[in-house]
């Protein structure tokens, strides 16, 4: 048996590991710590799709309260032919409010060959229609396509406050509710009675008729709640799965560090009085994780590892430094250890299955490194691997996962 000895607290991450480019909790679809790719040109896969189908549709969408998106599906030949006929040599996108008319709200000269456009309209809650066309010599404006109408989302809360309340039993299928309501209307029967009829048919979860009435509500209550809701409206937050990393990276970045005076930030209670300007700051501006600033330039990274490998009878019991290790089916084994500077002793023991035969090896190692310049502070190169003696390589090749 090996003699008892004190193993120094070593052999782990001896060399300082590089700091990854991003840090913190993860986010959806993350595949690693490298920063996201920059804006990508349309790749080969997408380029295999046809440029146009020739359906002659102009599609308009309201992207947000202030922006519209339009695209049009014209075959290239038709586009070129129309552009050739235009006085200006290009097509024009017109944006109309409510309905198509002679005086559009906006008139956008399009780049040659353009098939889509983002249009800033700047107003929420307005109905828009797009029109694609061009002015032709002697003919004036010629309409090519007209879009579907869209309404931009409103910018803020509605002013309308007439309130109607309804009682809809969640466990009664819509079809039954509608059928009962239609029947009630036909017989000029109040909805409450219709609900009673449903209740009698076995829908016992229906609310009592008194609940159907709109709750009593005073102006004082209205004002008090409006105050709560007003504060909430200023705390807009649009965060789903995209943004945490960016936020945390920002918190942990140099600027945040400076701001905190080097203190570790702890969660704090909400202050209650949020500034309106803070609202937009909660969501990620770009959705792209922010890389922590790093020095670039020449770099050098050196790691040293220790590989203990060997073989014995497949059913033997092998320990390294007193810990049992798992043998491969052929009785071979290999273990890796990080090897920082220092002196180490490793006892390796093999015991036969019956326990009546054993062998041991006392391994001693020393590593001493002198660094000149910054070494080992950069991310490990993906292809950086330790040198392999042939025997080590053959032992490692069995480790399929």
């Amino acid at each position: 048996m090996p003699r008892q000895r004190r193993i120094p607290p070593i052999l782990l991450e001896g060399d300082e590991m590089p700091t990854p480019l991003v840090s913190g909790p993860g986010r959806r679809f993350s595949l690693g710590p490298t920063p996201p790719s920059p804006a990508l040109a349309l790749g080969a896969a997408a380029e295999r799709l046809p440029a146009a189908y020739g359906t002659r549709r102009l599609w308009l969408a309201a992207r947000d309260p202030h922006w519209l998106y339009a695209n049009w599906d014209l075959r290239s030949e038709e586009m070129e032919e129309r552009e050739g006929r235009a006085v200006s040599g290009h097509l024009t996108l017109r944006i109309h409010e409510n309905a198509v008319g002679p005086a559009p709200l906006l008139q956008i000269p399009l780049a040659k060959g353009a098939r889509s456009w983002f249009v800033r309209v700047g107003r929420g809650g307005v109905r828009y229609i797009a029109e694609l066309g061009c002015a032709q010599p002697g003919l004036g404006w010629q309409t090519l396509l007209i879009s579907n109408p869209v309404t931009t989302p409103p910018d803020g809360p509605a002013t309308a406050s007439e309130r109607e309340f309804a009682t809809i039993p969640v466990d009664v299928p819509f079809a039954a509710v509608v059928e009962q309501a239609v029947e009630a209307a036909r017989q000029e029967e109040p909805l409450a009675q219709a609900l009673d009829a449903l209740r009698n048919q076995g829908f016992s979860d229906l609310p009592s008729p008194k609940e159907v009435r709109a709750p009593v509500w005073t102006e004082t209550q209205e004002r008090a709640l409006a105050e709560v809701l007003r504060v909430d409206a200023q705390r807009r937050v649009w965060v789903s799965s995209l943004d945490v990393t960016g936020l945390i990276a920002e918190r942990l970045g140099p600027a945040a560090e400076k701001e905190r005076g080097g203190e570790v930030e702890q969660p704090s209670s909400p202050t209650g009085g949020f500034e309106a300007g803070e609202a937009g700051g909660i969501s990620s501006p770009s959705g792209e994780g922010r890389a922590i600033e790093r020095e670039r330039g020449f770099w050098f990274n050196v790691n040293a590892e220790l590989v203990i490998y060997g073989a014995t009878e497949p059913d033997a019991r092998v320990t390294i430094a007193g810990r049992v290790i798992k043998l491969r089916p052929d009785g071979s084994f290999s273990l890796r250890f990080a090897l920082p500077d220092g002196e180490y002793e490793l006892p390796v023991v093999a015991l036969s299955r019956s326990g009546d035969d054993g062998r041991s090896a006392e391994l001693e190692f020393r590593r001493h490194t002198e660094y000149r310049g910054a070494v080992g502070a950069h991310p490990q190169h993906p292809r950086l691997t330790p040198p392999h003696a042939e025997s080590i390589t053959s032992a490692e090749t069995d480790q399929s996962g």
Binding site: P267, G287, E305
Partner: protein, 524 residues
């Protein structure tokens, strides 16, 4: 006056299944989420049940996720991955044996992965069955979502496309859970008027919008997000509570960024020698996450500290108490001004808990147990529970909105991804044209129509424009969109020519095999 807290966890992943590759990088999204969120979450709810805790949780399981969780190929691949992780953790136990901090972590990983594999075997690889049982035991409510998580407002002028997404989801839910869904998660919380018609057809009764979706509703909702409204079509709409969202996500207060928590990105798949970790990487030729991580977020410049679970647990305890105190204060404030018990609707991505935020499930546990220990004056309910107790609400039309950056469609419709839209619009029109062309098709045409609908819906997923926007795996997203639209085009050409190539069709059915009973008639 008591109040309610509706915790809603939205679990979703796009359909990623590549039988043509032995190991495929993006499939790891599913495997990581099973290991770190879905299995541990099921266990957590089980523990609540055993401890007789009176808590109800809502879980959205999207149809694509359900399809993957019940797919035999992905199940066996997950098992292989988990076994590989156990092997790696065993090696790590040895490798780290003289570093007390990392060694304890390596042992904990080994123990955790081994228990997860036992759990996986115990449920016979059927994680969906576990959630189904939890719903049948009345512990959770499972809501559904659009079939492939399409941003429904972008389908606004293509009613058949929207109808197909919603009714396919309804049918798939029935097949998975043996009952009808009551709640519907609007993908990306993206709402625009028009969705109600098909939700009502599917007898779906509630959905969630972001705060401003309800705040800007017409007429203005009396109770803001603290009570649902009914749309004129009779669907209940719950608005996201901004304060509980903010506490988890905010720049200044967000919990997951506590420096004591485990760093998501610092993984031995990136840190250690390539040859050593290579057999355990998601894809053999690229460094990737293994799931074994030893460092805490730490903060500041310089090296990372070794992760200390005890320190992290202290952060969890403090943050859970902080969260609960804030809810109690919020409800107390509302009690002064409201005449009915308010509901706080708190939806989160499920994968945040455990996967992106390692301690997230411990936080959830601490919130639930803390609330019950403190006898907090609120009840954990699901939206359906709430509607059963409170059926009278204001009628209002929510405002178009999403929970993405900017609150609208900017994430899914911008310069990086707008090129997808015209192709989708044409494919949507063409599918409807095909369906009308073949009112009574034979078996082969029936299969081709079904596959065409699958390919279209896979191309419609919100995930591809999201990835193109976020830049996490843009080439893959492009390839997926192009591949599905390309297959759709092939099927379209075959059907228009009246000659379906059975071998080609079979190959597509093998690769994109979700929704086996899809009904293409919904696209009429």
């Amino acid at each position: 006056m008591p109040g309610y807290l509706a915790l809603i966890l939205h679990a979703h992943l796009p359909f990623v299944r590549h039988p043509e590759h032995e190991r495929f990088l993006e499939e790891s999204w599913l495997y990581e989420a099973i290991t770190e969120t879905y299995l541990p979450l099921a266990d957590l709810i089980e523990r609540w049940r055993k401890d007789r805790l009176n808590v109800r949780l809502t879980l959205t399981l999207t149809p694509t996720l359900c399809s993957m969780l019940s797919d035999p190929l992905l199940q066996s691949r997950y098992e292989r991955r988990l076994s590989a992780l156990i092997d790696l953790a065993e090696k790590e136990v040895h490798r780290t044996c003289w570093d007390a901090g990392c060694h304890r972590l390596a042992e904990a990983y080994l123990d955790r992965f081994t228990r997860l594999r036992a759990r996986w075997h115990a449920c016979d690889r059927n994680l969906l069955g576990v959630f189904r049982a939890l719903q049948d035991q009345n512990r959770i409510e499972i809501a559904t979502s659009a079939a492939t998580h399409a941003v429904l407002p972008l389908l606004g002028d293509q009613p058949a496309a929207m109808r197909g997404q919603i009714l396919t989801a309804r049918d798939h839910y029935r097949a998975c859970f043996g009952r009808d869904a009551v709640g519907f998660w609007l993908p990306e919380c993206a709402y625009a008027p028009g969705v109600e018609e098909f939700l009502r057809e599917a007898n779906l009764r509630w959905f969630v919008v972001d705060t401003h979706g309800l705040g800007n509703a017409v007429p203005r909702p009396r109770y803001g997000t603290y009570a649902p409204v009914y749309t004129p079509e009779g669907l209940a709409v719950f608005g996201r509570d901004i304060e509980s969202a903010r506490q988890v996500w905010s720049r200044n207060e967000g919990y997951p960024g506590d420096t004591r928590y485990r760093d998501f990105y610092r993984d031995i798949g990136f840190d250690l020698d390539f040859d050593y970790v290579r057999p355990y990487l998601p894809s053999p030729d690229h460094r990737g996450f293994t799931g074994i991580k030893y460092q805490s977020i730490t903060g500041g410049k310089g090296g990372k500290r070794c992760y200390n679970p005890a320190d992290a647990q202290r952060a969890v305890t403090a943050q859970a108490a902080h969260f609960l105190e804030a809810r109690e204060r919020q409800l107390a404030r509302l009690a002064e001004v409201m005449d009915q018990p308010p509901i706080l609707t708190a939806p989160y991505d499920a994968e945040l808990f455990g996967h992106w935020w390692h301690e997230g499930l411990a936080f959830l546990d601490a919130v639930v147990r803390g609330a019950l220990d403190r006898a907090s004056d609120f009840t954990f309910v699901t939206p359906t529970d709430y509607l059963r107790r409170h059926a009278t609400h204001q009628v209002a039309r929510p405002s178009p909105s999403t929970w993405g950056e900017g609150g609208h469609l900017g994430v899914w419709l911008n310069e990086k991804n707008e090129w997808i839209q015209p192709h989708l619009r044409v494919a949507e029109q063409r599918l409807t044209a095909l369906v009308r062309r073949y009112p009574e098709p034979g078996e082969l045409v029936d299969r081709a129509l079904r596959q065409a609908a699958r390919e279209l819906m896979l191309a419609q997923a919100s995930d591809w424009p999201f990835i193109l926007h976020a830049g996490t795996s843009p080439e893959y997203a492009q390839r997926r969109v192009a591949a599905h639209l390309g297959r759709f085009q092939e099927l379209y050409d075959m059907l228009m020519a009246g000659a379906v190539d059975e071998a080609g069709l079979r190959e597509m059915e093998t690769v994109d095999n979700l929704f086996p009973n899809l009904d293409w008639r919904y696209w009429r």
